[in-house]
């Protein structure tokens, strides 16, 4: 086969291969979300993070506004410190509440933000004061059983006359 035909085919092959990679990166992966926009970091302390993982979404009103950057354990307060990256286009008041929620019954856990009423907005490096830990199923069940047991306890009988 002549040389320029081979060159043409190899060129087309390389272009197609790179197009395949770009398709994977842009259409299949999540390159487009958040990697280019500016972020600011806030921290939140939780007594229990349940199954939260780094890179989990941070949602407010169901809209993804950021991602969990890092999860560490605080040796002094014995709590988890969760670092959250938020997009600059999403500004929240300083008294925003952070909760750890679950999407669906078997879904992944995410951080839900509920805006407060403060006029001052969160800045880079701030700490969220109001947090609500993940619901641990075992604690929930034991609480439920405890309540049921307390409710169902029969009244002490009147002493027989």
């Amino acid at each position: 086969m002549n040389r320029s035909t081979i060159d043409l085919w190899v060129g087309a092959f390389v272009v197609a291969g790179i197009a395949g990679l770009l398709f994977l990166a842009l259409k299949v992966g999540n390159l487009a979300t958040f990697s280019t926009s500016q972020m600011y970091q806030v921290q939140a302390k939780f007594a229990n993070i349940g199954g939260l993982k780094a890179r989990a979404p941070v949602k407010s009103a169901g809209v993804v506004v950021g991602r969990v950057a890092d999860i560490r354990f605080d040796n002094e307060s014995y709590e988890a410190i969760v670092t959250i990256n938020l997009g600059y286009e999403y500004q929240f008041p300083r008294d925003t509440t952070a909760k750890i929620l679950t999407s669906g019954i078997l879904g992944e856990q995410y951080v839900g933000l509920e805006a407060g009423g403060d006029g001052v907005m969160l800045k880079n490096g701030d700490r969220l004061r109001l947090t609500q830990s993940a619901v641990v199923l075992e604690n929930l069940i034991s609480q439920f059983l405890f309540n049921k047991a307390a409710e169902g306890k029969p009244e002490p009988k009147e002493p027989a006359k």
Binding site: A12, A16, G17, L24, A25, K27, N30, S35
Partner: protein, 268 residues
């Protein structure tokens, strides 16, 4: 009598082991020599381009068609299981993750080994059997630099591109079956896929896998060809060995790479 028998068996085992170790050492030395002497292949890039044509472009049909069908089968099978849990919207995630992480690099690597690897071995082995390599040496042309290195680099460059095309085609096949035929919501298919597939953890690791497989397959192919006994039987055996060894190498390397990449860390 018994002792002599046992001794003979142990000797056979020992010679088997040491000949394999010797061959591995020779192959490593061969690879090192090849990489050091690839100035010609990379300098006169036209030589490598011709090999990309033979290893890459001519493998396109089988890679694209296999990718399409693997993706379509994944969508059919995945839908069957997922809809039992009411999670058929996650079909895109299932198809994309299994293709990008595993099936893309591995199946493309296996196809590449049997389509291009065997051809490289047969070609180099036949050149050796017909004394073309010796003739080159007589003319003071290094056959490793002139014949082997372009084929090696051609294969190493082609393999990641083929794996990426396989994955892309598979996802397209999954889209055709999942969304067009079965009727999974197109928005959920793409958006859940985009939310679950990570650029670094999934796609980049898949590309790294395909590069490693490309190096392994072409290394085995050029070495088996160069090392083949210069007879018709020798070349045919070397070709078979290329396919068997590189398939096993791909699967073993895949296990090691997966264990390194996808366990522990933050992405579980």
């Amino acid at each position: 009598m018994r002792v002599a028998d046992l001794r003979a068996r142990l000797e056979r085992l020992g010679s088997g082991v040491s000949s394999h170790v010797w061959r591995l050492g020779f192959a490593s030395r061969f690879l090192a020599y090849l990489v050091v002497h690839s100035g010609t292949a990379l300098g006169r890039f036209r030589l490598t381009i011709a090999e990309i044509y033979f290893a890459g472009v001519l493998s396109l049909i089988i890679i694209l068609v296999s990718g399409l069908f693997v993706g379509m089968v994944l969508a059919l099978q995945g839908y069957d299981t997922l809809q039992r849990f009411g999670a058929s919207e996650s079909l895109g995630v299932l198809v994309a993750l299994s293709l990008v992480r595993e099936l893309g690099p591995v199946v493309a690597g296996l196809l590449f080994a049997s389509r291009a690897g065997s051809a490289i071995t047969a070609e180099i082995g036949l050149m050796k059997a017909t004394e073309q390599l010796s003739a080159m040496e007589m003319m003071a042309v290094d056959p490793i630099a002139r014949v082997v290195a372009p084929r090696f680099w051609g294969g190493v460059i082609s393999m990641p591109l083929l794996a990426a095309l396989f994955s892309a085609m598979g996802i397209f096949g999954g889209y055709i079956v999942g969304v067009q035929l079965i009727g999974v919501d197109a928005g959920a298919f793409w958006s859940q896929m985009q939310a679950a597939v990570d650029l670094r953890n999934d796609i980049l690791n898949g590309v790294i896998k395909s590069v490693v497989f490309g190096i392994a397959v072409t290394w085995i192919a050029v070495f088996e060809g160069y090392d083949a006994p210069p007879t018709a039987e020798g070349v045919s055996r070397a070709t078979t060995r290329t396919v068997v060894t590189s398939s096993l190498a791909i699967l073993a390397l895949d296990f090691i790479l997966t264990a390194l990449m996808f366990t522990g860390g933050t992405h579980q």
